[in-house]
């Protein structure tokens, strides 16, 4: 991930998160994949053996890879061609309890912030509704990051709308894109400490993050917001999520 003023990193650890689910041991090739809007372009970065560690930094790679703010890391047990029509669907480093992840995040000259990341490609046409409780106050810069990756390499544009959850008042609209990381500055909206902003994107799903950067640079904060389904456990969570989204969207778009 690449955002303004920070270096993105991705730490790969070739050790499965558990000892029973996926006992892969064979060498893998680490590819960087980025979209030119028509294809996924592949760049071979390194080979990893079982037990290896590799840090990938955005400032050590060509800027062209990060024009959309996002390039994907894919460990492959096979050689990939230089251009792909779709993201590879073979899951090489994969487990479920827990999910096999890597550590991604941002660094500056003082500190770093980490996030346990992995991404399954999102549907090409889906919506996003999320509540954002991460705005901080004082000597801090607040941004919303929206990450999207789909199997299809095309870069489609859409809107994400910002509302106040209390009065459902529309605040602003920003452009977001598929297969990209979009950075949206939030301090311009003068939120109060009791405000809970709602973000709604009708056509592009994504993983939203709150990114806080101390103006001194000495502290970074990064965490993703939850989808509405996380407000409940067990039962038909997808159905509950649909209901919650429907209830909110009806109110937000009719204002």
């Amino acid at each position: 991930m690449k955002t303004i003023g920070l270096t993105g990193f991705c730490d790969l650890v070739y050790l499965g998160p558990n000892n029973w689910e996926n006992r892969i041991r064979n060498d893998v090739t680490i590819y960087l994949l980025w979209s030119d809007g028509k294809n996924w372009i592949t760049q071979e970065l390194n080979n990893m053996r079982y037990g290896d560690y590799l840090r990938i930094r955005t400032d050590e790679l060509d800027e062209k890879f990060f024009e959309s703010g996002l390039a994907l890391i894919y460990p492959s047990s096979e050689k990939l061609s230089s251009k792909l029509d779709l993201l590879p669907d073979k899951k090489v480093w994969f487990s479920e309890v827990p999910a096999w992840r890597n550590t991604s995040g941002f660094i500056n000259r003082f500190t770093q912030v980490s996030y346990q990341a992995d991404i399954e490609p999102l549907p090409s046409n889906a919506s996003l509704l999320t509540f954002h409780p991460f705005i901080q106050f004082g000597e801090v810069i607040n941004n919303l990051l929206v990450l999207n990756a789909t199997r299809d390499p095309s870069i489609q544009k859409g809107k994400i709308n910002l509302y106040n959850s209390l009065d459902k008042k529309f605040i602003a609209s920003h452009e977001i894109s598929t297969n990209s990381l979009t950075t949206i500055p939030l301090d311009q909206y003068d939120f109060k400490s009791t405000d809970l902003p709602v973000f709604y994107s009708p056509k592009i799903a994504g993983i939203p993050f709150g990114l806080g950067v101390a103006k001194s640079g000495k502290m970074l904060s990064l965490e993703h917001t939850h989808p509405p389904a996380s407000l409940v456990l067990h039962g038909e969570r997808r159905k509950v999520q649909s209901q919650i989204k429907k209830a909110w969207i009806e109110k937000l778009v009719t204002q």
């Binding site: 409780p133 004082g138 456990l233």
Partner: protein
């Protein structure tokens, strides 16, 4: 891969799941009106501040502040041994966000608290959530060294339920020990703190293993955690060192919250 191979792999995986994860990660509460919460770690001393983002969950589910009355909840505190220290009532007046400073709760009471749970009062709401349960797995903010900016981390495990006034752990564990390898390479100079909570109804034993780069796994002293208790495992990593860490236990998901303190700053994330 042939269809036969795919079927064989799926079958192998089902057999493994039957051995390692026989049940859901969290039990289904027997009381259909029960509410669920994580056990959130508290870091509160001269160097640390902990805050919690209290949201009006019932009305977030309904899509509006329909009943117009304040939303209520209880915040319950536990010490490292899992003893329930008591609770405070909290409320939020409208749709929005209320940032709770844990220092205010711990000033006079609950001074030995190491974790807390938040149980929402949903009895005045008609939530159409079928067989689902309202769950608080929200966000703690941790401030280090008065840096003025918090590191946020969301709830890690659906740990406990409040049902008819009783707090019941709902995490499951298996009968076979298994490793959880933290998906993070520890780098120095830094002090790492791994905070574990026990969401199960029995004491659990956890054995840390560490491995320096190009070395072999080394077993460290095991520790035990009472039901609803917590434990902080600390590890200092010197400059230039690269260390991996894994934890052996019967927990389905021995996933700690990880704090990394380095260069007068900190980073917090899930292991």
């Amino acid at each position: 891969m042939t269809d036969v191979n795919i079927k064989a792999l799926k079958f192998k995986r089902k057999i493994k799941l039957a051995f390692y994860v026989r049940k859901k990660l969290a039990k289904v509460p027997s009381n259909k009106h029960a509410v669920i919460s994580d056990l959130f770690p508290i870091k509160q001393d001269d160097k640390w501040n902990t805050e919690f983002e209290f949201l009006n969950i019932a009305n977030l589910i309904l899509g509006d502040n329909l009943n117009g009355i304040p939303h209520k909840a209880e915040i319950h505190f536990f010490d490292a041994d899992g003893n329930h220290l008591g609770f405070s009532k909290i409320e939020i007046s409208s749709m929005g966000r209320k940032t709770l400073r844990l220092a205010e709760f711990l000033k006079f009471n609950f001074t030995s608290a190491k974790t807390f749970a938040v149980f929402h009062d949903i009895q005045n709401y008609s939530l159409n959530i079928g067989k689902s349960f309202v769950a608080e797995r929200g966000y703690c903010g941790y401030e280090y060294n008065r840096l003025g900016v918090k590191g946020y981390v969301h709830g890690n495990l659906d740990a406990v339920t409040l049902s008819d006034g009783k707090i019941i752990p709902i995490g499951n564990k298996g009968f076979i020990s298994r490793y959880f390898t933290v998906q993070h390479c520890l780098t120095g100079p830094s002090n790492y703190e791994f905070i574990f909570t026990n969401p199960t109804s029995r004491k659990v034993k956890i054995t840390p293993n560490i491995m320096y780069e190009n070395s072999k796994w080394k077993k460290l002293q095991p520790f035990s955690i009472n039901t609803k208790g917590s434990y902080n495992f600390n590890l200092y990593v010197n400059s230039g060192e690269k260390v991996f860490v894994r934890f052996k236990s019967k927990l389905y998901l021995a996933r700690p919250v990880v704090f990394r303190v380095s260069n007068d700053s900190m980073d917090v994330f899930h292991g």
